[in-house]
Amino acid sequence: MGWAWLILLLATYPWLLGADLATDMLASIGVITFISGACIIAPCRRLRPIQAVPFAACIGFLFEARRPIPDGTLAITLVAASIFLTANKPLLRNTPRLLRAAIITNTLACIAWCIAVTLALDTPPGVRPATPWVQFILQVSLATILGAAAYLPISMVQNFAMDRIGIPPAADTP
């Protein structure tokens, strides 16, 4: 199934839309509900690298599309994570390891886009830029919590979709 990743992307998209709606609700306190990192874990366990990589790239591009994040930052981070995870499948052997991977990937991906957007921030000359450390810590902490909280429901939907499109289950001893 060469297009399995695309079907899986469509199955994952409602979660990303849900995260955008949550961001909309939290706009007054200025935090982004970021779950893109957690979305690539379950597919990386079962998909081949050639399928997992475009899936991860699209997840990254979907998040970046409506935000002033430097082009490709998140997509490339998620692609690198997906290559690493598909090459080291023992890291995704059981649920606690999957959960740990979701937390780490979501946190690292969040750090990547936060740093990229901070570096690309356009401040006028002569005006000192504010240091958004509190925001940075808050955003990364939220990403860590969301990575843990969102992984199980997202993976349930993704595994269901992968079962339906006939992707073989992950080996117990990869």
């Binding site: 591009f61 002033p68 957007v117 921030l121 005006v127 925001q135």
Partner: protein, 290 residues
Amino acid sequence: MEQNRRGAQASYVALTIFIAVWIFMPSAVRRLNREAFTEFQAPAMHLVSKSRDLARFWELKSRSSEDMAAAGRDLARVNAALELKLADFEDVRRENKRLRKIDSYTVPADYMSVVARVASRDSSSWWNRIVIRKGRNDGIRPGAPVVFGNSVVGRVAAVHLTTSEVDLVTSPGFRCTAFLEGDEQNRIVLVNGLAGNSLRAPQARISVIPVDYDERVGQVSKVYTTGMGGVFPSHLILGTIDLESQATKPGVSFKEGRLNPVRDLYNLQEVSVLVPLHQNPGEALLDQFQ
């Protein structure tokens, strides 16, 4: 396992090559990619936003018929039902007032006003944006000012087919020139969005305030657009200056202050986009290069 590792090494090499190609790729390709992913998401954004409107409509409609049923069933509850109905009228009155207010600003002859509903809001330290449900198909162009009544909401940052992204006044990418109320010499100050922290009302910074600018004791001074630069029409309200946070440093000839937007930017439901009828010099220059 070993095969996996070897495959991964090849993938890392491919990724490095891709990153190098991506960096040196023409920006048009990257823009096309971004546009494609935005357009992919646009129908979902429209659907969600319109569903929200529909849900609100049915909520109001069902509330009204419930009131009528209650009035018919029990005379003792008539007063309560009427009160609820009055509350409904109050809602309608508020909506009417809000819509009248949005229309109260006389649009300058050089601009065309496009009223758009807000589809979603997105805010962080690094950007404060809203997405509106009007885009290129409705004539909206990048850089067009976005207002509510006679107060500035922001500026259109990116335009897609059916949606547009608006940088709010408090977004770090926003900047414009302004006049301060009470400054009889009409000296120009600079307003730019402030990369602030969460859990605090977003603000913008006002810089280059002359040191001899007098604070008006006990009054809040408004900040107006100058109309220079060709983006914003003149005399629109940007917000009010935060006099308490003004600080004068020794040896510095200018002061700084904070701008508090006059409206709660995250609770707006509709905004007006003032689309210039004629291309401004910046747009003409962009067209020449494209």
